[in-house]
Amino acid sequence: MHIVIIGNGISGVSVAKSLREYSDDEITIVSSENISFFSRPALMYVFMGKMRFKDILPFPSDYWVRNKIKQVYGAVKEIDAENQSIVLDDGGVLSYDKLVLALGSQPKSLGLGEFNLQGVQGFYSLQDLEKLQDSTNKIKHASIIGGGLIGVELAEMFVSRGISFTFWVREKWFGSNFLPQEEAEMVTNHLISKNINIKFEREIIGFEADDSNKVKSVESQSGEKVNSDLVCVCIGVEPKVDWLKSTDVQTKAGVLVNAHLQTNIPSIYAVGDCVECIDPVHGRKSIETLWYTGRLMGEYLGKNILPENSPPYEPGIYFNSAKFFDLEYQIYGDVPTSFSEPYGTVFWKHPTKDKSIRLVFDAKNDEFIGCCVLGIRFRQEVCEKWIREKRKISEVLPLLSEANFDSEFSTRYERELLDIYNNTVI
């Protein structure tokens, strides 16, 4: 049996790794980005000079040979589902018994045709990093559009290299579309404390280019025009599935898959960012463009692609983490952005430092359903256990120190949170 995987990001590589644990079948990974898997979230550290590119390769170079995972460098032009083969851009043909699409995603466009201009780019791929590094020494002023994780990463990167830039954010607070109000304010204040030029409540409505089609300035809805010879658009990502439209693989926003991550064609599967679940597990989005989701899907598929009657994909309890400059963020379970019925919440914030703890519970039955922390580390296993066991919030709070994962000798704040809860309940 030959399993071909298109894409060697975390999703595709997780399929290959996990499959190798269960079978000796032939595995081939095809990628046009880089011959070997690298850590995408770490691209920023290469730009910042914290690591070299070879440092962000998670496996030693002989790993792939040792595990008999064949790597092919090239872009896939066509999928011939009838003959179970794919055609590469150099004309090579690979036939498969099972095909896994781990295509990833691509930066969303503002819909202003901005990616046709020179000097406008997203920050997603290795090629994006190379472009960025090329232009770094030539530019006078950059613009970052979009108040999401990539935007703040770019801001951190530019600060480290001393590049002057304007950071355009549509919302009133940074992260208000994925963080609760208090956390969004804290992150916003943290960004402001870094002395970066950040403009809130600005939507970009147009670009100006010079005669050679090179971007010159950006314009916001409030009428400001800022000269920028580099513009990074990072308003989110979308599944990279345009090229599949000509094949028989069914797509909508992403590759449509069933509960077994199988597409409409039984021998073709999909994992990671490019996936759109037809019937997502309760409480989860149909498209989750997250590193962790990609890995979990990959591990699931590697284990279950061969056996008959495999169980459906079960993403487990949601978790995610991020870092905004120096501020670490972790979330476990269900934490909405606002707390109307049936959500209840206990929130503690350090009076001076950037630290906060939030627990979320079901106001009807007091069951603990999620938590998020800023500037503090929590233990994933403990939080997951409490959520899975539907522990009561009053039971979880006194035990909270078990969940703490901060380094030794760190100041602890579980007591403060408990006091806040006791004061509000009585």
């Binding site: 770490a42 978790f319 580390r377 233990r379 997951e384 380094s407």
Partner: protein, 450 residues
Amino acid sequence: MTSILKWSQSLFNFEVKNEGVWFKSLSNRGVIGWILALFLTFGYITLYFFPAWLGLGAKGMPNTGFIAWFDPISLFFNGSAASQWFVYGFLYTLIILIMGVKFLIKYKNNNYQIIRTISLMFFQLCFAFIIPEIMASLNQPAMDLKNMWPLNYYFFFDWNIKKLLSSGYFGLFLMVWGIALTFIISPVLTYFYGKRWYCSWVCGCGGLAETAGDPFRHLSDNSETAWKWERRIIYPVLFLVCLMTLTILDSFFRKNPETYWITFSHFKVIILLLLAGIIALGIWQKGWLKGVSKWSKIGFISLGIILFVAIAFSWSYQKPVLLINALKLREWYGFYVGAIFSGIIGVGFYPLMGSRVWCRFGCPMAAILGIQQRFFSRFRITVNGGQCISCGNCSTYCEMGIDVRAYAQKGENIVRASCVGCGICAEVCPRGVLKLENGPLSLEDGKIRF
């Protein structure tokens, strides 16, 4: 003007966490890095072998030049003119204090780093520098109370034993303290806290590596090949220091078979029992050695048995143990390991191979503590569920060249002989995945696989 201002700002902006280290000539093995490495290497060579070039006065003659600058300080502390070792100790301590302050500012948000670094500075200043100077000025044997055998390889040398045993109760105390440190205090502390209690909290070599060596920690090679060479070098050095100590003690007891309350026959019995105990442990261990390959186990046990027989034979024929010339071996070890490896290469190569070259490839103390840490300690680095994004900061900034990411991305706790517990992997992790912990005996923790 503005560029000068910017440069001087960056010089004092320690908060910047490793940004641009791979762009700077000093920290990416560039020209400045090589110049510094050459400077340090030649500095050590001059200090060790040609101190006259630095102005050390020949017998009875006053110091001149560089060394003479330190005469007033030396006079203040111990009443005599500076020796090259006084100058070395003084500068070593000064650098740890200055770079320690820099380190404290850089990691001011992490209490573990703060307390650990203050501990290192304290032990260097008081235990390694001030207290021995006071002892010397009181005409007592001077000893660094934290420097234990086998890092302090001359502790069991005949001249040291004679010196200590001829210095009354204070000397006796030093003798007992030194033995207790190696055989009781250290194993107990390592059981509870891992080898970090010594290597990154107390030790002087660690003190310099953690402070002055911090800007070079990413230069430690973290490949599997480097790990292989680490084991190929460090354990033979441990073996050598044990062998050397054995031969020295053997010749010492041969000359004074009945002088002390431990006699030559006591000594023979102790050594043979110790060796037999180690062999028995290798054969009958239950699970401790489960990660060790079959062949290294067989090799280890047969080497032990051969040694046991050979030692017993040489003693039964009244010959020096293993027929080794103790003085030659001692000279050889002192020159190649004591001076060249731990001093010249250990520090001189900071800007080329990272800050822990000696600790990682050579230090016999680290080897012993490491073996205990790997098999019989509560210390481990815990991995937080599935939060790892395989970015590689931990592996890059591990001064011991441990590929931390290889474990973290599998969700496996890290129990490695070489880990000195500096805690920087946990500090540079952008997702809060790593934590240094003392839990239940780490090998009984179900999460560890080898």
